[in-house]
Amino acid sequence: MLRNYLKIAYRTLLRYKAYTALNVLGLTLGLTCAILIFMMVKFHLSFDQYHSKADRVVRLVSYFNTPDGEFYTPGVPAPLGDAARTDIAPLEKVSMVYNEGTVTVALMEGGVPTKKFKEDNEGVFFAEPDLFSILDLKILKGNVQDLKQPNVVFLTEKIAKKYYGDVDPIGKILRFDAKLNVKVVGLIQDLPTNTDLNCTILASYLTRDTYDPDWAKNMKKHWGGINSNTRCFALLKSNTNVAQVQKMTPAFLAKYYTSAEERKSRNLSIQPLSDIHFNENYSGVIPKRMITTLGIIGLLLLITACINFVNMATAQALKRSKEVGVRKVMGSSRGQLFWQFIAETAIITVIAGVFSYILASILFPFLSNWQEELIGYRMILGNLVDARFWMIFILTILSVIFLSGSYPGFVLGGFNTIVALKGKISTQSLGGVSVRKALVVTQFVITQILVIGTIVVSSQMNYFIKTDMGFKHDAILQMPIPQQDAVKLQTLKTQFKGISSIQKVSLVNTPPMSQSQNTTDVKYDNRRDSEKFSIYIKFADNDYLDLYGVKIVAGRNVMASDTSREFLVNEETVRRLGEKSNNDVLNKKLTIWGKTGLVVGVIKDYHVMTLHEKIPPLALSTNTQMYYTVAVKMNMADAQNTIKKLDKIWSATFPDFVFEYEFYDEQIGKMYQMETAMLGLIQAFALIAILIGCLGLYGLVSFMVAQKTKEIGVRKVLGASVGQILWLFGKEFSILIFIAFIIAAPAAWWVLNGWLQDFEYRISIGASVFAAAIFLTGIIAVITVGWQSSRAALANPVKSLRTE
């Protein structure tokens, strides 16, 4: 019997090629998106889950209670590792890990650097040997005990190959940042792509002392300061859990923080390994809600593809009425007809499944590249297609078969035998028009939500781009300053100014808006206590305001100086200090980081962080020791040539380092990478949802045209105009679009308004967004439905009536 089902299914599908193609195409699109989304979700959920003790691995992180709210950092005080090892009994192993953002690595031969490499992207780590007991780091050469000495490193296979090719790297000497020689003592296996520990060079933790003697002298034993890159990993004993350890932290901290104020503000949190990738508070890469949003979009696309199928299959069922009648006469039961239809659905779905897997495999590298560009992670198809993938894929295919095939199967099986045999099954008897209308409405709802989502996310992104940040960011090129030598920096600045296409040059620690920030306590005027708020502090020379176009609203610019003698503050600081006018703060004392200076000017507020955050109180001052970036405003007409000139001067000034640059516009763009990613995904998926919906509409309207052929003929004979005939179709779809809109608009508003709450500066969702959504859906429906219905309306009525 199954063979018979499959045989007839195959022949039916061949006979109605357009119907089959539309169905396969719709399902293929839906399934392809679902596969790609599943891969992305699976990839992110798999982060660091490959460690054999993953369920017991934790990271100790910090947060502060401040008058401005809670402040989170993945960093911990430098002495925490040793203290936790001694005091927190449930921790079986503890390892401090420090990550140096960017290091220039020189390969040494006979005491001379031969090649230089810039290792950024968080490649260089300093860690204690216990890290090997906590995480699965496989040593290929060397001994973990070697990490108990200073100035030694382990390399990953990939970086060893990059540096030395096939030559054994053991015993080779590297120089970090032109100041410290380290010896390669081991080789570790490359880490997989799904880890947040992007380690390529692993130095012993003691190497940090020699790499940064200032830190060893001032900070190593200091509980006050926290560097966000100083982190602490631990392994819980097998009989304990996170909550138990968490309970011990207040008493633990109380031992090291003696003042009441510190005890009140300092907190330690025990973060499970599985939370690291997702927790934004602690620099997580992708928030869980993004994963959930992706999952929901994937599901919506699948549902819309299924609805498509149900609509077209139910409409198509009409053409099958005679067959159903004959089968019933021959003794087929309702159940047998149901299964016959399920078999047909299965064929279409399996074909779509195969196509979608092929299509997903073709599109996967593009998705992977796109993700890598945006958030720096590369996905590998082979790692994601495993037994679990196939299990879920097969389950999805089965679900689609039953979701899509059940209703048409049920409708077909329920045909009245006699009516079916006479071929007089009407639309009304197709299992209730209301069900199909509800399905079309659902499809329109999904489409409209995605359209509204696309409009809102695009508008917010556009708002980012168009909003006046309070500073200029175009044609500004920024280069790092590896050595804070006052003489070198002045020479560099002068030489840069000598390039004809360079208009302005400034030395800064960070540009106006950046991801890296410094905040501190502030004392104002002759007030006894520090202010209740923290102030953001930036250091830059006196060309900063001019280069970035920051306006002075009161007083004057700071004078050139190598140290912090004068301060500029922003308008928000004036407000927070409780002063009535900008002039009130001028010539008053400000103490920041132990340095006291006069406030000489007030600058107009500008965005210090992304539009997610409010503009905070900010102070600006000079200090050569804090300049890490040299920024130039350039003429873009001959940019390549200008960059070559900059490279030449920069490389001559810092011969031990590798020249690199970044346009400030690009840097700002990266700060919105998650939003850009979200916009890209929503746009792509909205487009596909619309396409799938169009296929369904097209199928449905073809069916309606076939059904109404006689009616159209009669109406035309009786004098109906083409417009009146078109309205026959238009009326039904207009009502459905409107009903969908009533459901979609509040749902979309609710979801997107929630999303917008994440931004301190945001657009408001106005009526125009909804008007645009309904207009767009209407246009899509008109385009899809128009051609078929106008063909029917323009047909010769004699021909139409002949179909009776």
């Binding site: 045989k7 019933k328 006469v329 003794g331 309702r334």
Partner: protein, 225 residues
């Protein structure tokens, strides 16, 4: 074989009630060939549908082989139908996607007969109706007469006790029509009961008895010699 007593079937819409069968009583004996005649709308097709268990009556009794079947549910009806009744329609009602062979094989599939036996029986019946040579053709590739012979083959392949024919020659020319009537007569002579609805006096003369209907009632019966 069939005993119908006081059978009533009324079609209802919101405003109108149409009495299709008005307390009709009909008996058909084993091995009989009965023709039902009457003007359009007299209820003859409704009667045939109820006899074929494709439709149900509102009141009255219908015994099939002495068993009351009026209250049977759909599953039981389908079961009784596939084991005992063969249908021949005016418009042939062959499934376009299946070949001649596959169309004829269909009732045997629903009876769960194994492949070897199916092959034997299908080929035998195709030989009998003389369309074995068109076994792999699709219905659209056949003439009307061939299509109806295929439909007859399908109706008899499971050796039913009863054949119900609804204007079996209505779409055929006289030559093909006569051939189909010969086939039905032949089957009847081998013991199969035949009930046929027809407008054709010529075809009705192949039957043993003609039941004439009007307004849902039997108005006359003619026994033919």
């Amino acid at each position: 074989m069939l005993k119908i007593t006081d059978l009533e079937k009324i079609y209802r819409t919101e405003d109108i009630e149409t009495v299709a069968l008005n307390k009709i009583s009909v008996d058909v004996k084993d091995g009989e060939f009965v023709a039902i005649m009457g003007p359009s709308g007299c209820g003859k097709s409704t009667l045939l549908n109820i006899v074929g268990l494709l439709d149900d009556a509102d009141t009255g009794s219908f015994k099939f082989n002495s068993e009351e079947v009026i209250s049977y549910n759909e599953r039981k009806r389908a079961d009784l139908r596939k084991r005992n009744i063969g249908f021949v329609f005016q418009s042939f009602n062959l499934i376009d996607e299946l070949t001649v062979y596959e169309n004829v094989e269909l009732p045997l599939l629903y009876l769960g007969i194994d492949a070897d036996e199916r092959k034997k029986r299908v080929e035998a019946v195709l030989e009998k109706v003389q369309i074995m040579h068109r076994r792999n053709h699709f219905p659209q590739q056949l003439s009307g007469g061939q299509q109806q012979r295929c439909a007859v083959a399908r109706a008899v392949v499971n050796n039913p006790k009863l054949i119900l024919a609804d204007e079996p020659t209505g779409n055929l020319d006289s030559k093909n029509g006569n051939e189909v009537m010969e086939l039905l007569t032949d089957l009847n002579s081998q013991g199969t009961t035949v009930v046929m609805v027809t407008h054709s006096e010529h075809d009705a003369r192949y039957a043993h008895r003609i039941i004439r209907m009007l307004d849902g009632q039997v108005v006359m019966e003619n026994v033919l010699s």
